[in-house]
Point group: C2
Chain length 472, copies 2
């Protein structure tokens, strides 16, 4: 077999093979599908791609030539699972949607769970959204319209709205009978708990299915329900929701509106995506990359999005160099200073980046609190001073042997201590200050911190040298 | 109320308050508990801390003075939930365990789910583990001993081993009767699915509880089971497990041994911790910080763990400066070169870090595959050249105005293009090469990449200047 084998996908080894090189999808398989699409052979396309898991179908789509992508969807018709599009890189998704007819999109979306449909719908502008919604059956349309009213990135957008609810006076036996007799379309595709509500649809508590099955058939739901569930406000930011899930190891949490009425449920599989996206954004921010940058972005867009960060850095580099500019006479008289100054700046920058990374992390995970801020500041300054002293000695000895000037070793040693102390302070105080000002410290700390260590590094080294050697 | 109110913990706003300043725990509450512990008043301690969620209890413990921590556990006795210790910072946990008696630890651990007990047990050395296991009841001991035989970081350590299994010929009605009549201790604390196995305990498929409740009581499990579950090998690395869960949006996955026998189940709440830890490690690695560094680490340990990375950087800084050293004559003749050279190096370093961040991310998420590597390399080089040209012009104009030498502007412009191209190549090829060599690119790329941009930055700028101005 040269393609995905649905039976073997359960085998992790194939998905993430030992040699770490093979992708999850084979080029030959992509080529076969592309050929079938080019030949406009719907049966062959269905045979190849019809049984794929949505995640694998998404990978396939991403790897097809761009004009084959919408064609594949049209050829597969009703057999195409639109859920795959939620897994596709957003640029590729946009490109596909441009080619597809509104009717095809509306039909495909009606088949999805509302939370998946919402992810796709968010890609369109207001006008397009209305057109697609118009073309959908009434039930799906109303549910989606309601979800769109919640703020972006809120729990309301994240939650599932198809729930199983019951009154507290029902018995476990009645509940089971109800579930057995309910028409398939009245129940969610999958569910793990029953929400017990009062007549005003206010949440009284939940009964997990395993609990329902353990108890006597005569037990009333009102007596076996778990009231101690953490509730989420429908307007709550999804990052706060993710933090709540992580802190309390939740599997799911009911979502209520301002009147305490049950409106949905957030489950952990939705939250996993939020956790992953948050981590992704933090890593990119620390590396000076836009959180929305994707591998599929065009060259122009990528260059433009990286430009701003580089421009800020250019300004800070000029500021740092202007410190060198002040000491031009000294540099000319003793050129070894020009050679050694970057070492002091670089070592301070790296030590400060370590501190900054720890602090940004601790702020993101809420581990840095009022209770331990002073202790952490003290620790960082002490570590900076200690490593500064050690690296001062090492660098001093290195400079002494390189240039044969004992004074140069002493001067660079003191500059190193000074700069690592400055780096420790900058590395902690700058992210803390930005956090207080409600600026994401992951995005903005780096530029400020290295400016501090560059300027203090150059400035201290050249000032000490000026004094020691009596340069003017 | 001056302390945690269990009723209000469901309110996300209180846990992550608007001003971003208040911690999740109030200093006054910590002080009250510390006082009660100091007064050795078990009733007061239980009143204050007895109803806390394990995550809040962990936060409380972390914020208590260190000698109060084991005392709190002893005072609370059987009311202390050892699950809280799984949430406590590992240094603090080690310190607590040193003070507690083996018997207390063994009793506390017997109360836990096996996967939680395993997390705690992994903190001890072989000898201590045996002592604790000896002091535990036989059933818990045997289960833990079996888990300890699986490799560290394997699915076997992550999985839960208490499962509900059934033969395929049972009907839904029989299954429900079985669950109703089973003694509480024979069932897992919570479960979402029934595993259908053959007489050799090989997995045939699973029946989710909602499915069990939907079908007719006479339906046989063998006819309603879902055979299409992705199975995990018990020796599989937990990071691969996490990737599988994320890719296929899994809620749980059965774990099988080499003979295809069902041995456990991994659920998504265990995987969330793996995802979070992985992201944490990647962020720290990119910042030059040890993945195991925690805020509670001592000054000495922290300084030592950061030393190695800084030492590697010091060596690379000396290498970069040695490039400057080659051009000492030229620097002396034209000191402006010494002032401007760091700008070229810094801009290249930042552009390369952007590329490196994107590449390290794409490798971690398996988005960079054989199929798109060349396209991404091409894109990065093009972006590097484009931004290099733009920043070359900006920097050139800046240098011209600063020093009034048109030649200097031209020289720095060409050096900038050269270095941003070198940075793009280094930023992508170095992580790719490290990945092939099975070295974590997040940990090691940074030092190599900035060495490239420092050396190429200084070298190209000073070479071009030497040629243009005829310096010797």
């Amino acid at each position: 077999m040269t393609h995905f084998d649905p039976e073997s996908q359960g085998d992790v080894a194939e998905l993430a093979p030992e040699d770490g090189e093979e992708g999850v999808i084979r080029p030959e398989f992509v080529a076969d599908v592309a050929d079938a699409v080019a030949a406009e052979d719907p049966d062959e396309v269905r045979r190849l791609a019809g049984e794929l898991h949505e995640a694998d179908l998404a990978t396939l789509i991403e790897n097809l030539p761009s004009d084959s992508r919408p064609k594949l969807i049209e050829l597969m018709g009703r057999d195409f699972d639109f859920a795959a599009l939620t897994e596709v890189d957003s640029n590729i998704r946009d490109q596909i949607f441009e080619e597809l007819q509104t009717r095809t999109v509306a039909e495909g979306m009606s088949e999805l769970e509302p939370d998946d449909a919402l992810v796709l719908l968010e890609d369109f502008n207001r006008k397009e959204q209305s057109e697609i919604l118009e073309a959908m059956p009434a039930i799906e349309r109303v549910a989606l319209q309601r979800s769109l009213e919640y703020p972006e990135n809120s729990a309301g957008r994240l939650m599932q709205t198809t729930l199983v609810t019951a009154p507290p006076f029902w018995t476990a036996g009645q509940m089971i009978d109800f579930l057995r007799d309910a028409p398939e379309e009245d129940l969610p595709e999958s569910f793990f708990e029953i929400f017990v509500v009062d007549p005003a649809h206010r949440l009284l508590g939940t009964v997990f299915l395993d609990q329902l099955l353990r108890v006597n058939a005569q037990a009333e739901l009102g007596n076996i329900l778990d009231t101690d569930r953490r509730r989420i406000d429908v307007d709550e930011d999804r990052e706060d929701v993710a933090r709540l899930f992580q802190r309390y190891n939740l599997i799911s949490a009911p979502v209520v509106d301002r009147a305490e009425r049950l409106v949905g449920v957030v489950t952990i599989d939705d939250v996993v995506d939020v956790i992953r996206e948050e981590a992704d954004e933090e890593i990119k921010a620390l590396g000076g990359v836009s959180p929305s940058e994707e591998l599929s972005d065009s060259i122009w867009w990528t260059a433009k999005s990286r430009f701003l960060w580089l421009f800020v850095n250019l300004i800070t580099a000029f500021i740092a160099s202007s410190v060198l500019g002040i000491f031009q006479n000294q540099l000319q008289k003793m050129v070894a200073l020009a050679v050694l100054a970057p070492i002091v700046a670089s070592q301070g920058g790296n030590a400060a980046t370590q501190t900054m990374t720890v602090v940004v992390r601790a702020l993101a995970t809420r581990q840095l609190t009022k209770l331990n801020t002073w202790r952490v500041i003290g620790r960082e300054v002490f570590v900076g001073g200690l490593n500064g002293a050690i690296f001062g000695i090492i660098t001093g000895v290195g400079a002494l042997f390189w240039f044969g000037l004992p004074g140069l070793g002493i001067v660079i040693a003191f500059a190193m201590v000074t700069n690592l102390l400055a780096g420790a302070l900058g590395g902690i105080l700058i992210p803390l200050a930005l956090h207080r000002l409600r600026i994401d410290p992951a995005v903005s700390s780096g530029a400020f911190v290295t400016t501090v260590t560059d300027c203090v590094g150059y400035g201290s080294f050249l000032t000490f040298a000026t004094l020691w050697f009596g340069l003017r």
